[in-house]
């Protein structure tokens, strides 16, 4: 073995190199505070390794990026682990950069003759920021897409060359295939290559000057890099790796729904380490001074001060200023981050949007697993899915009057601005029509029959015509018959009537229907005869059923197929039709021509619960 190593040494001289690398003297001995640079190098190595493997499975285009990341994360062996490590190591890198930077400033390691190395470090910082920014877009999910858009739009406001820069970054005026190929080339090629180059320079210059040692330590005995400091470095790296693995297992790398340029994502936020900048830009005063000021000049000025630290440090109080500046910067960033997090956690609509994005991510994965992804991409799975599109269509078309379990279908409560004592305030927009969360269910029909007034209470907010509904014939009928229906002896009769009406709709999610109950209910519908007493007037006196009577004419909604797919579709198209409320009484706008057939189908399928469910 030794002769072989000697043979190799004669030809390569590796022994001298290893000796040089490992035998760096450390005045004052090895110290834990020296580990940060090594941990950063380690995390970068982790990124190179995991990045290479991810590269072997990733496909950068708008039709394959999300899809391949889904495949990596949810299908491939250990994909979740490799992607999780890459994802959280990127975040660990930001934390370690901060710690390394603080250590450098506190130790005054920027002082002569180490200025150049300090600047090399700043270049490395910029490259790492570039890597995190370009990496964020690659999964092409809603979160990354919209967060990155903000960044490229900031590039676009650069004076003079902004628009051109933005187009170069995006590969055109909008986001598309070309954006991904470019970001990927930057993320996996250009930036890592630059990082390796600058890191080599950084370490070379560092070795030239050695560790910055405090005056007290300089008098102490000299320690060795190998194995004393290496052990501390390795243990620190172990700690970093354990933290990364902890988050990988505990949280896992997130993948929200596939990016959808047509759908605004109201929960767009940058990654947490950019959150302070995001919050800074939101200040009204900053906003007034313009995006260029907040997004370019201020960060530019801060970077300028940092770059000048070696010179500032020469002044009498310069070093103290540098430390104070660094701490002020970190405190400011922490403060702004805290405000941003606090505001977001208090913002219900923001939380709802985050929840929706996560839900879309889960749903896209569920659909992809079940049906495979069509060549038109995973987004088309979501676009054809009633469970995803239904609530959106409800929020867009129905929620100005109706609610769905108290919200707009998307867990948000419609708000409007009012002025109170000269102050603008957000108040909840009142519903003017029934809450449709349970529409057509057994519970709904029971409520309509026994508690009409509560069910349709929001109608009173719609003025005189709404009042007419609340004092109309059906309201009167319920007033007259609710007591009878609610009698304990009539519980079965009510159940039968409800079962009959639910069976009319034939909705899949409400099945199975009890045939005996349906028959009994039908008899009650026609005759009004209950176990104990009878109705003041029969249902069939007013409401048409294909198999029963003729009905009383316009204004009495037909109950054939009540709340089923066909019924609901026709009702939404034209509720003023004679088979429903009739033009005299109807309050609801008809949606024929206002909503496409496809959208109407998705909305109705969602309302009647007809969509894929995982078994």
């Amino acid at each position: 073995m030794n002769s072989l190593l000697d043979w190799l040494d004669v030809r390569t001289g590796y022994k001298a190199l290893v000796h040089e690398a490992l035998n760096e003297p450390i005045p004052g001995g090895a110290k834990w505070k020296y580990v940060w640079g090594s941990t950063l190098t380690f995390v970068f190595a982790v990124q190179v390794i995991t990045g290479f493997f991810l590269w072997s499975a990733y496909s950068p285009s708008t039709l394959t990026a999300w899809e391949s990341v889904y495949y990596i994360q949810h299908v491939m062996s250990f994909g979740w682990l490799v992607r999780g490590i890459h994802h959280f190591a990127a975040q660990a890198m930001m934390v370690l950069l901060g710690l390394h930077f603080m250590q450098v400033v506190i130790a005054g390691a920027y002082r002569a003759p180490r200025e150049v190395n300090f600047w090399l470090g700043l270049v490395l910082l910029q490259i790492v920021l570039g890597l995190s920014l370009t990496g964020y877009l690659l999964p092409w999910d809603q979160k990354g897409y919209y967060a990155t858009k903000v960044a490229t739009n900031i590039v676009g406001v650069t004076p003079v060359i902004g628009p051109q820069l933005q187009q170069i970054a995006q590969g055109g005026t909008t986001y598309g295939h070309h954006t991904l190929t470019r970001f990927f080339a930057l993320h996996a090629g250009v930036l890592p290559a630059l990082l390796v180059g600058f890191l080599a320079l950084h370490i070379y210059v560092f070795r030239r000057h050695g560790i910055t040692v405090s005056e007290a330590d300089q008098k102490k005995p000299i320690g060795k890099f190998w194995p004393d400091q290496v052990l501390m470095d390795a243990v620190a790296c172990l700690g970093v790796l354990a933290t990364i693995l902890f988050f990988t297992v505990w949280k896992g790398a997130e993948l929200t729904g596939p990016a959808d340029a047509s759908e605004a994502y109201s929960a767009a936020r940058p990654e947490w380490y950019f959150l302070f900048l995001f919050r800074f830009l939101k200040f009204e005063e900053v906003d007034k001074l313009g995006l260029v000021f907040g997004a370019l000049y201020v960060p530019g000025a801060i970077m300028g001060v940092i770059a000048l630290m070696p010179f500032i440090g020469k002044w009498k109080l310069g070093h103290r200023f540098n430390i104070a500046f660094t701490f002020a910067l970190l405190a400011g960033a922490a403060f702004l981050t805290a405000i941003a997090l606090k505001e977001d956690s208090a913002d219900k609509n923001y939380q709802a949007a985050v929840h929706m994005a996560e839900f879309e991510g889960h749903r896209a994965v569920e659909l992809a697993r079940e049906f495979g992804i069509p060549s038109t991409g995973a987004l088309s799975l979501l676009k054809e899915d009633a469970l995803i599109q239904g609530p959106k269509l409800f929020a867009r078309h129905c929620a100005s009057c109706h609610r769905y379990n108290g919200h707009n279908g998307l867990d948000q409560v419609p708000m409007r601005e009012v002025e109170e004592n000269g102050e603008k305030k957000q108040v909840e927009e009142l519903a003017t029509a029934a809450d449709l969360g349970e529409f057509g269910s057994r519970n709904w029909i029971t409520k309509v029959l026994t508690d009409y007034h509560t069910t349709f209470a929001p109608l009173k907010n719609s003025g005189e015509r709404g009042e007419r509904f609340l004092q109309g014939e059906m309201a009167e009928w319920v007033k007259d018959n609710a007591e009878t229906l609610k009698k304990p002896e009539n519980a079965d009769s009510l159940k039968s009537l409800v079962e009959f009406l639910v069976a009319e709709g034939g909705r899949e999610e409400l099945q199975p229907f009890d045939p005996a109950l349906v028959e009994a209910g039908k008899a009650i519908f026609k005759s009004g005869q209950l176990a104990n007493g009878s109705f003041t007037s029969n249902c069939a006196d007013c409401h048409t059923l294909a198999s029963v009577g003729e009905g009383a004419g316009p204004g009495y909604p037909t109950l054939t197929g009540y709340a089923g797919k066909v019924w609901l579709t026709e009702f939404i198209k034209n509720p003023a039709h004679d088979g429903f409320y009739g033009s005299e009484r109807n309050l609801m706008p008809g949606f024929e021509g206002k909503i496409s057939d496809k959208e109407l189908k998705l909305l109705v399928d969602w309302m009647v619960g007809d969509y894929f469910r995982k078994k």
């Binding site: 490590i85 070795r207 052990l231 790796l241 495979g372």
Partner: protein, 188 residues
């Protein structure tokens, strides 16, 4: 500060030094091998995990191909494409040709099926009407009508596939690809 040109003195005890060396090596091995091994396992996914190449067959994986009446009674081979939903990693392509087969019918409605991929190196063999043989255009592998090889270019006979016919006269084939270049017929 200029780097010290003299080597640091060997002040720690040998025992302490040994622990530090061992600790460094162990911790170093863990941190470097964890991402590497995870990545390697990930890279080996194609051999670690069984994947479907198509969807749409019946419970046993048979696909409908044609009907008995479409096949000539004299045993002349006819080539058919098999249609199914092709699965390529995450994508599913509806109703694509996932492969082609030759079918031959004999008396008593017996049907045999050949995968038309040459077992030599994977080109598609063609049926030659005049010589009544299957010939591979790539390296001149030749097979008799019953699939037996006629020269020693291919390592084995043409690969047969499982066939079944149902009561409606429909012919079903269980499509499989086999490893090329080896004597033993093994599905891939």
């Amino acid at each position: 500060m200029e780097p010290s040109s003299s080597l640091p003195p060997d002040q720690p005890t040998a025992r302490r030094n040994f622990l530090a060396v061992a600790g460094s090596l162990v911790a170093g091995a863990i941190v470097s091998l964890t991402p590497l091994m995870a990545g390697l396992a990930f890279f080996l996914d194609p051999v670690l995990r069984k994947k479907e190449t198509f969807k749409g067959g019946d419970a046993d994986g048979f696909l409908p191909v044609t009907t008995l009446s479409e096949l000539p009674d004299d045993g002349t081979p006819l080539r058919f494409a098999l249609l199914a939903d092709k699965v390529d990693a995450w994508n599913q392509f509806k109703n694509q040709s996932i492969g082609t087969v030759y079918l031959r019918k004999f008396e008593g409605n017996q049907v045999i099926a050949f995968n038309d991929t040459c077992p030599h190196l994977g080109c598609k063999v063609d049926y030659q009407e005049a010589s009544q043989t299957f010939l591979c255009p790539c390296h001149a592998s030749a097979f008799k009508l019953d699939g037996e090889r006629m020269n020693h270019i291919p390592p084995r006979n043409l690969d047969t596939l499982e066939v079944k016919t149902d009561s409606n006269g429909k012919v079903w084939v269980k499509y499989q690809d086999f490893q090329c270049g080896v004597e033993k017929k093994g599905a891939v």
